[in-house]
Amino acid sequence: MGCGETIAIFHLQCCGGVVAELAKACGTSLPFLPLFWNGCVVNYELSHLKTLESESIHIIREVAAEFERPVLLFSGGKDSIVMLRLAEKAFWPAKIPFPVMHVDTGHNFEEVYEYRDRRVAELGIKLVIASVQDSIDSGKQVEQKGPRASRNQLQTMTLLDGLEEHGFDAAFGGARRDEEKARSKERVYSFRDEFGQWDPKNQRPELWSLYNGRHLRGEHIRIFPLSNWTELDIWQYIAEDGIEVPNIYYAHEREVFERDGMLLAVTEFVTVMDGEKPETRTVRFRTVGDASCTGAVESDARTVQQVIDEVSATRVTERGATRADDRASEAAMEDRKRQGYF
């Protein structure tokens, strides 16, 4: 590797002035030894992605150290994929010391199931599946009816039941603050009462990098290690780290139809209504969730770099473009979160 090249961790600079500058900047005359990497002086700078990575790893380690039974909520979407990679990094060469849980509506894309199972096997960790279908079969939940039926709403109860059944006291989620306005006010450690409820008016102040995870039995904390990441950061990190994501995130031909200004995929889980005309278009998914309420976007982005270019230039937020669940009302996300949603 040549000098002056940007590598994963350090920004390199081959100049002698750095040492003097550092000593000056720190207001000291101490002999300040330079760091070397392949013979080059390192100037003690971290890229924004490495800064975010380090912050997330710190959070994940804090949780593993302080909670009895953490679990990582894994959906197979890009954010939970990055979160899982960060957990892998946090404990390497040891295994991730907690299981992952998938709240499965049963209406997910095939590619996502395949990816999930392969990744969990690779990491040698336990997968817990909390199934919405099981909740319906056992009579705990009732399936919505009609062509607009979605299991998205039903996830909340299945999620809370799953956490309770296994006694999980901390649940990592991949939510980001840039996604939605209710989320922009949520803490990294988000306290949930015994009903799994979030009370936005009564959140614990969160200062420095000191997190308060104390809770009583039956209560739990949602942990959001990706709070400060944006959609673009996620994609830049996927590119930089060479992380694989399910191929439905890249442009492909698919049969879709328009509903409420969104492109929904034709699947066995969605009923096409009168006047809706399915046609084959070149699309990709910006978010991956329940097939009944996750829309595709028209796109020619077939590589990570093309996706980054597209995300950099887009004028619509990812949830605005693709999530019917947020469109129910102005505060749809807040209302669902209050009830215990992700």
Binding site: R61, W92, W208, S209, E330
Partner: protein, 418 residues
């Protein structure tokens, strides 16, 4: 390579704070069309003439119903040079609690002043909190310059008035920028209306202010988060200490000391998932491997034998009280969290309460209530390994937790051993 800059904004809606943030986001193309549509719709329903950009962040039901901002909102934008995280702190009664929260990790704070009104009590309070929290860079944005005819004299009056107050504070880098958030003067581009101003626009300042040397690279401190023992065939005898460098630099081969045991050894290797590194500096998350087997666990601190933090159980600190249901007074028993160490603490005494408007010290005060600050002496059940807050935010800060409600009730900045 783009850097990360965290900044906090302080001021009320009247100062044009939302307009300024809206302008920064809008001009850096970080507001999306669907967000603008939703803000426009909501503004229209509320009977407003123009879209209220505050609605971009005031998304909670209660906020929209009451027209107030409840909590710190985080916003994100990026330019080719830097990625920015804005902690947008509201300006009403809960102010101190919110600003302390938003400011605790900020590299820079922007305090807005209305050019017509000049330096108000609120502006002084914001600047004082910024200095107390040791935010390295402070920007005084003198807004609404369009309403004072872009007057250089008016701007200079404010600079002078604020400057004499700021001289009493501990502020290392103070910058004044005259601007009009509404018209965009000096926000992204330099204003044609204020050619007399020789400084840079706000965005240019945010992009170029030198933050790399704000970190403490002298005092090597590594609070241990957890011990990694894979116990696999490949890594049979592996024992790594995982943590994030709080300050300073660690290199393989360095002689290090472990607190509280006081044992010394050498760093054998510094590991990350992406490979071994030659050195680690704040705020890198790494794993240290040591030459000798020493009993080390979470809450221990790795440092250099010639440069150790203070180890003490009797500590003086400035404490900001964050709870509305309880007060701090002599005898209060609390849980304390400092770096990765948790202990119990008892308040020995409240030396004085600080009036954050007048900076007057009230030594007769017996309690700290919500949003109040004061100098407090505490005693902890375990020694803490700390540096003065002014030297290191990471090893100089702590939080206090109510053991009955589990709420975070206090934020402390360490002054030193009692």
């Amino acid at each position: 390579m783009s850097e990360l800059l965290r900044f906090a904004t302080a001021g009320s809606v009247d100062d044009g704070k939302s307009t300024l943030i809206g302008r920064l986001l809008f001009d850096s193309k970080s507001i999306f069309e669907d967000q603008m549509t939703s803000v426009a719709d909501a503004s229209e329903r509320m009977g407003l003439d123009a879209p209220n950009l505050a609605l971009l962040t005031d998304g909670l039901r209660a906020e929209r119903e009451q027209g107030i901002t409840i909590d710190v909102a985080y916003r994100y934008f990026a330019t080719p040079k830097r990625k920015f995280i804005i902690a947008d702190t509201p300006g009403h009664v809960q102010y101190t609690r919110n600003m302390v929260t938003g400011a605790s990790t900020a590299d820079l704070a922007i305090v807005l002043i209305d050019a017509r009104k000049g330096v108000l009590e609120q502006s002084r309070r914001h600047a004082f909190i910024a200095s107390l929290l040791r935010i390295p860079h402070l920007v005084i944005a003198v807004n609404k310059m369009d309403l004072v005819d872009y007057s250089e004299d008016r701007f200079n009056e404010i600079v002078e008035e604020f400057g004499s107050f700021a001289a009493k504070l501990d502020i290392s880098d103070l910058t004044f920028i005259p601007l009009s958030a509404l018209n965009g003067d000096n926000v992204v581009a330099r204003s044609e209306h204020m050619t007399w101003f020789e400084g840079s626009s706000l965005l240019h300042h945010l992009e170029t202010v030198h933050i790399a040397s704000d970190r403490n690279l002298i005092d090597a401190r590594f609070p241990v988060q957890c011990v990694l023992r894979p116990q696999t065939e490949e890594f049979h005898d592996y024992r790594g200490y995982a943590g994030r460098v709080a300050s300073g630099v660690f290199r393989s081969g360095d002689e290090v000391m472990v607190l509280p045991s006081g044992f010394t050894t050498k760093i054998k290797r510094i590991d990350t998932f992406d490979g071994e590194v030659d050195g680690a500096f704040a705020p890198m998350s790494v794993t240290l491997l040591l030459e000798d087997e020493i009993d080390i666990s979470r809450g221990d601190m790795i440092c250099r034998p010639q440069n150790q933090p203070t180890s003490a159980q009797d500590i003086d600190a400035m404490v900001c009280w964050l709870a509305d249901e309880t007060v701090l007074s002599a005898g209060s028993k609390l849980s304390i969290k400092h770096t990765t160490r948790t202990a119990r603490a008892i308040v020995k005494n409240l030396k004085y309460r600080l009036d954050i408007n007048s900076l007057h010290r009230d030594e007769s005060a017996e309690t700290l209530q919500l949003n109040e600050m004061g100098r407090v002496s505490i005693r902890t059940t375990l020694p803490l390994f700390f540096d003065e807050y002014r030297r290191s935010r990471e090893t100089g800060s702590f939080i206090l937790i109510d053991e009955a409600t589990n709420a975070t009730v206090g934020a402390g900045m360490i002054l030193g051993e009692t």
